[in-house]
Symmetry: C2
Subunit: 469 residues, 2 copies
């Protein structure tokens, strides 16, 4: 990993460990229908154990796999889950549910179990990545926010992982807060990208809340606010001399590079090192070559080149393959909005209630019934050979991927922190076969077990008989 | 507007008026480079007046216009802008800036002016929708979060407005919280969609915080949790009898409709009215026709049909044109992620500093210099004839679109609330010429004034001379 010396890279382990990002914890962050169903369950005494599973139906074009992310935030949400007195007060006044039912909501907590793929695990369509086992009302109410938390970070981690594979050995930095969909999206996108192998983020709050290395350069407005570029560079260098990166494309990239070539020795005499220059427009490969030549001719081989501006995994791949002398990349919009596939088809579906498997048959959206586990088999050299989705009580070869995340409403002891999840993500990516690492990937090796198929067929026969009766 | 009787439509004016959605207000929700530049501005005493403008560079395919949204949240952010003692404490410990500079940040507030298009205004590329006039450090620091707030809601309002035009007279409801990019995105998407003409949202918190009508049906899991569909419907109806909507596609849509046809008279005898049924899968037009026939044959003409499931403006247009008997639509993912164009190319650029116009010349990203206003001309029947972007001191025909939103750091008196903005949005849409209302729109009638072109040319000549010297 080449470390481009952008202004300050900083990890505040001690501080970050004490700061948990305060995401919105309101239980009103849900769909009205969850509450409606809870009231109806309550009226009919339906509180037996339900099993819901969250899975993704298919891969978007250009993705060979997905990467699980967001479990930490999901567990925090479930652990803290309750209606506050203010929220209950509002619900009572709103007449959205009866006063008697509101009263029962005061003691609502999550007391169930969660099994999930650890964050950073690579997975494929139709594999449950999370299973909730809890009294029906609890497992139902959390649907909206669980999907909201797990879908988004999984979308971003998956996108980021493909970028990491497209630009091996390059320093990738999240520049995307401004185009992210709101504050929480910006913050969690920084987290998901770091999890997937990004080196850092430009977002200050992601440093404070998650301990993610924070990186910064300068904006065009800084250069524009000065009457000439050389003065702008010199002033910035004097005020922020550490790990100095100068943005050289405000007027003309090569002229910007020449100014740096003249300025760098003068700054060096004052003990200030120009660490990198940033390009942000035009043909980045061509500019990088020209800038490299200008800097090298001035004996400034140590100054790194950092590029940004509308990049995605395809342009990263193309720039890296072309051998353009670029050491690191800032990726914004395409990362934090996952612009080619900002949403994936995922679902959180009831698979079992009161000891009986359940199945939805809606056209094009039928689900596999029953409590399931995913087993992964490997070749001798540790590459993923294939997965099998099986019933929990079936015998299957391979390593089980869904591990305990919560028991009786409490976080499991061994849940990995972000640093551990990032290591797991890297080793998970290293296990991918070549055919799935490409941006035009092969088909995915997922098998549905014989037990699940038998169960589904048996349920369909029963359903047909029920209809007939 | 057909009002489908989904479970509870509810506006809590009194309550909502007292609840301001608490979005994340942290000033650390910014890029490190903003802080770096502030420190360098401070070191060089650069605190004269800067003018930044926010504009969108181009329309994505399938959009004839954009709709301005998010100003209310932007103004709230600027009014409340300050580093908290905790944040300053963290900054000091982080060594991300010098102790002396941290000290100066304690008194940082926004004291500038903001002029902006009122929310709900229809606009076109290269038109500034917001102008900030403030001391340079203030105007710089707010860049990241201002774009983050205004870009997202504008993206969603624009998408929603095209859906509103595609489905005239139909009740459109936001169902998209689960796939939105986090909590804030879900909440603000509900707001932006309502602003643009949606009738309501499924998100409870959007009702509490913004007074947006909240709407709900039932989920497949409710039906699945019962041993048969008829029991599920009957129990739900008994527990939640008001504005009752039954989801009929869990197993087989037409069979679901027949169950409703049998059940509705029995419920009616108990004083419970089935208001609507919801379809969520398969060929919605075909199912709607079949379901309509089943209900009509049973004399249940008053039961409305509501449809959902992967809808976007194109499928809405097609369903409405086909004359499918659908009265309302729930739109989720494509709305709250603006899935075909989740990000637009927008920028917040320095146009003037210390009384001098400024221009960025980066390849493909050059900006028009100077403080600007947008003037809109209308035909005799009130249709938009064309816009002209002009310098503030130029004389131009038409109605100025940028209006005072803040003066000296305080909110302008007349800033419209959400209800007023929604009325403005509707009249703004009504002013669109037919050619711009289509999903395959005509070119946009925006002119750049002679004054701006002259100024840009003069600046480019000077820049060339500077380079030569």
């Amino acid at each position: 990993m080449v470390e481009v010396g952008l202004t300050r890279i900083n990890v505040l382990d001690g501080v970050a460990a004490h700061c948990v990002a305060m995401l919105d914890r309101s239980l009103l962050l849900t769909d009205l229908y969850e509450l409606s169903m809870l009231e109806a369950y309550d009226a009919n005494g339906m509180a037996e154990t339900a099993v819901f599973e969250l899975f993704f139906r298919k891969l978007p074009p250009g993705r060979g796999f997905l990467m699980a992310a967001g479990l930490e935030q999901a567990v925090q949400f479930l652990e803290a889950m309750r209606f506050t007195p203010d929220e209950l007060d509002w619900l009572r006044k709103s007449s959205l549910c009866s006063a008697a039912f509101c009263e029962k909501l005061t003691t609502l907590r999550f007391t169930g179990d969660v099994d999930a793929m650890p964050e950073g695990t690579v997975f494929f369509p139709n594999e449950p990545i999370l299973r909730v086992t809890a009294p029906l009302p609890q497992a139902q109410l959390v649907e909206t926010r669980l999907i909201n938390l797990l879908h988004f970070q999984t979308v971003i981690a998956s996108k980021a992982a493909h970028m990491v594979l497209a630009a091996p050995g390059k320093q990738l930095v999240d520049f995307g807060l401004r185009r992210a969909h709101g504050a929480e999206a910006g913050l969690l996108a920084a987290r998901a990208a770091y999890l997937a192998g990004f080196a850092g983020t430009a977002t200050l709050l992601a440093n404070r809340d998650f301990g993610i290395p924070v990186v910064g350069t300068m904006a065009h407005s800084f250069v524009q606010a000065h009457d000439d570029e050389a003065t702008a560079f010199e002033r910035f260098a004097s005020a922020r001399p550490k790990a100095l990166t100068l943005l050289i494309d405000t007027y003309d990239t090569e002229r910007g590079a020449s100014i740096v070539a003249t300025l760098a020795p003068r700054l060096a005499a004052r003990g200030i090192t120009v660490s990198a220059v940033r390009l942000d427009s035009g043909d980045l490969a061509a500019h990088a070559r020209a800038v490299r030549a200008i800097l090298d001719a001035a004996g400034l081989r140590a100054i790194r080149i950092f590029a940004s501006g509308g990049l995605d995994e395809w342009s990263l791949l193309s720039l890296c393959r072309s051998g353009a002398p670029i050491d690191g990349f800032g990726v914004g919009t395409s990362l934090t909005t996952a612009s080619d596939a900002p949403a994936l088809d995922c679902a959180y579906k009831l698979q079992e209630y009161a000891g009986r498997p359940r199945r939805k048959l809606s056209e094009g959206k039928a689900t596999w019934p029953g409590r399931k586990q995913v087993y992964r088999r490997f070749t001798d050299d540790g590459t993923i050979a294939g997965d099998i989705v099986a019933l929990l009580d079936e015998v299957a070869d391979g390593v089980p991927l869904l591990l305990p995340a919560m028991r009786e409403g409490k976080r499991a002891d061994h849940l990995p922190d972000l640093a551990a999840a990032r290591v797991h993500a890297a080793s998970s990516l290293a296990q991918l076969p070549g055919a799935l690492r490409r941006l035009e990937p092969a088909d995915v090796p997922v098998e549905i077990s014989r037990g699940i198929r038998r169960l589904a067929a048996a349920m369909d026969r029963t359903a047909t008989q029920d209809q007939g009766s």
